[in-house]
Amino acid sequence: MANAIDRRPGRLGRFLRSLLLPVAAILIALAIGAVAMWAFGDDPLVAYRGLWSGAFGDARALARTVRKMVPLIFTGLSVAVAFKAGLFNIGAAGQFLMGTVAATAVGISFPGMPAPLHVSLALLAGVVGGLVWGLIPGLLKVYTGAHEVIVTIMLNYVAALLAGWTVYAGGTEGQSPGPLWDPTARAVSESPDILESARLPLFFDPAYRLHAGVLLALAVVVFIWWLIYRTTIGFEIRTVGLNLKAARYAGMRVAWTVVFTMGIAGILAGLAGAIETLGVNWKFAPEFGGQVGFDGITVALLGQTHPFGIVLAAFLFGALDAGAARMQFESGVAQDIIQVIQALVLAFVAAPTLIRLLFRMEAEEFEVTTISQTWGGGSG
């Protein structure tokens, strides 16, 4: 142990080292993306310039990037918190949808309620929706041993179908429509717009559609950082993740920790859904689930499962999504290239982990520093 601590690089060195892998992954992915564009006869420079100006070029572009970043922060945190306890939450997509549906249900009800109360209640509904969907795999794991990967994947389908049903427009053979369906939408399956009083306040120019969820996201990031690294329960979560047997031997409540962690993960993804509904969409339609649940996995890995790293990773992915349309506009390159780049980033970030697991490498610096941090954090 002492030997390991001696070899430990300084604080700045460790920080730079932790940046190495993600930055390399991004650069390689962008380079391969450029080669792909070039191979199809497009000019990658024009495309990337368009991507840049669409993501950062002016105030509106920057607002778009930030708006796209917000749900990714939450789903990224959701996956990362579970990772800390050694759990693989692939269910952020389903938890997101349950949060969305719950927030929509509250958002379209209670006319005349004061705005602060209505917004809070709708957010709370999103929290509860995500919480329920996170607790199910947690409880199943603890009581039946069902693996959370399988359960969360299956619950994603359940959530998608359930959410779709709530706004189902009904069929010709008398199938009744879903409870949240908007009759004025006729054959279209969607909810009514949520009431004004349930919408998150907008900043600056309303045309920027930049909502208060941004502040909430940053606050939650700090809270999760505090929870994981500065509290006893956070210490337990990390210990369970690092060494289950040691945690049990040390008398920690392992089962309780697993359920608690999945609950937190569910809450985070559910909040993402609620905030997207109350801040951006103002209604629910089945196709609003989108990619953010799965992108959360990439964001969590790219951010090295650290809350602050996740903010950076979410910002990058938000920028890629925000700039895609301008990129196509400027260069004619199809926006699918963005998904290719994002998938490559995931591949390169996940690959070292994979290789380490494959060859059972001891990966000294990584694990030892983590453990020593743990003790430092736990006693502090």
């Binding site: 050694g86 069929g171 399956s189 559609r209 349309a325 995931l346 591949a347 996940a350 994979l354 697991l357």
Partner: protein, 362 residues
């Protein structure tokens, strides 16, 4: 410990495989087929012409989807060509996520575009909102019914009943059994009902006693247009009941019907099928063995015309009805007698002038 690692590893691998599989192939060359040859040499570009820009936002999907997105984009290209716009003045953005409609429209507004074409019913709300905020920009909303007319939005819609009527006339002439059929998407969608009513009334216009077997898909919007198996089974049933002309109007469901009829035609049966929306000879080559024509909504020329009108400053706000018609007969040119072709022409004229009524009243 090792078991846990193995689990984690397998989970990661599965995840990677999922993500990579979900990932579409890298950007296909996106320049859509621009088939119109330069019919007339581009007119001399007038001074303001160099500044006139036209943008298009697709519904979720590709610009070369062989359907509405592509037809509308070809309309933009045609309109630009007719005006003699420089190539760089027309651009498109493909929508990947339905949450981005407003953002994508805004890209063109920010870039100072004069005309923005938005394709598909789903973009209706975003289009009207953008139009209200930008009265100086013209919007063409393909397939977007305008409940209230704005001076700078033209909702391009079609008399589907007239297209169906022409298909019905053709079907009645071709049928020897005097039994024809239609395999349709759901009646939840008004245009589908219009196609059906027009088709039946068109057939009766020729043969008042003809038997028509029209079947709507029983499911909701989520499946009604994406159920080729049901379409094929329904077409098979109609063939068994003696129908020898079948009209398929309902997206992929209708395509399933057309393909079933094509299989029967290939087996030597004397049967025809009629497609819908675009010339399905090109969009569904598998139906060629039976495809005598298609009941088309002519999106391309209508978009081109509207762009021209916007340039002239004579933009028609509100609903704008595009032309409908039958697609060319292709390989079946000889199966359709000249008298029938002439009569179809007359009836089309009559429908346009209002002397013939399709009998469809929404």
């Amino acid at each position: 410990m090792s078991r846990k690692r193995l689990f984690f590893l397998m989970a990661l691998l599965t995840l990677l495989a999922l993500v990579l599989a979900a990932c579409p192939a890298p950007a296909a060359p996106t320049a859509p087929a621009q088939e119109q040859e330069a019919a007339a040499p581009a007119e001399e570009a007038a001074e303001p012409l160099a500044e006139f820009k036209v943008g298009l936002v697709t519904d979720v999907g590709r610009i070369n989807d062989r359907s509405f997105n592509q037809s509308a984009w070809e309309g933009v290209l045609l309109g630009a060509e007719q005006l003699g716009l420089p190539e760089d003045n027309v651009k498109y953005i493909e929508t990947v996520d339905s949450k981005d409609y407003a953002d994508n429209i805004q890209q063109f507004i920010d870039a100072g575009y004069d005309v923005i074409v938005t394709v598909g019913f789903a973009l209706g709300d975003a289009t009207v909102e953008a139009a209200k905020a930008n009265p100086g920009v013209y919007f063409i909303g393909v397939d977007q019914f305008q409940a209230e007319a704005l001076p700078n939005v033209a909702g391009l819609i079609f008399h589907e009943d007239q297209a169906g009527f022409l298909a019905g006339v053709l079907a009645a002439h071709l049928s020897e059994t005097d039994i024809i059929a239609a395999v349709l998407g759901t009646d939840l969608v008004p245009p589908v009902v219009a196609f059906k009513e027009g088709y039946e009334n068109g057939a009766r216009y020729i043969k008042p006693d003809i038997t028509t077997i029209s079947t709507y898909h029983p499911g909701g919007l989520d499946v009604a247009f994406t159920d080729p198996e049901w379409g094929a089974a329904t077409a098979r049933q109609a063939l068994d009941q003696g129908a020898d002309v079948i009209f398929g109007a309902g997206g992929i469901t209708g395509n399933g019907a057309l393909q079933e009829v094509a299989a029967a035609a290939q087996a030597g049966q004397r049967v025809y099928c009629i497609g819908v929306d675009t010339d399905q000879w090109y969009t569904l080559p598998a139906a060629q063995p039976c495809l005598v024509s298609s009941a088309m909504k002519l999106i391309t020329p209508a978009v081109a015309d509207l762009i021209g009108m916007a340039f002239q400053g004579e933009f028609p706000g509100g609903n704008y009805y595009g032309e409908v018609g039958l697609a060319p007969f292709h390989d079946f040119e000889d199966d359709v007698p000249q008298e029938v072709k002439d009569q179809l022409q007359e009836i089309k004229q009559g429908l346009l002038e209002g002397t013939i009524d399709t009998g469809y009243n929404p």
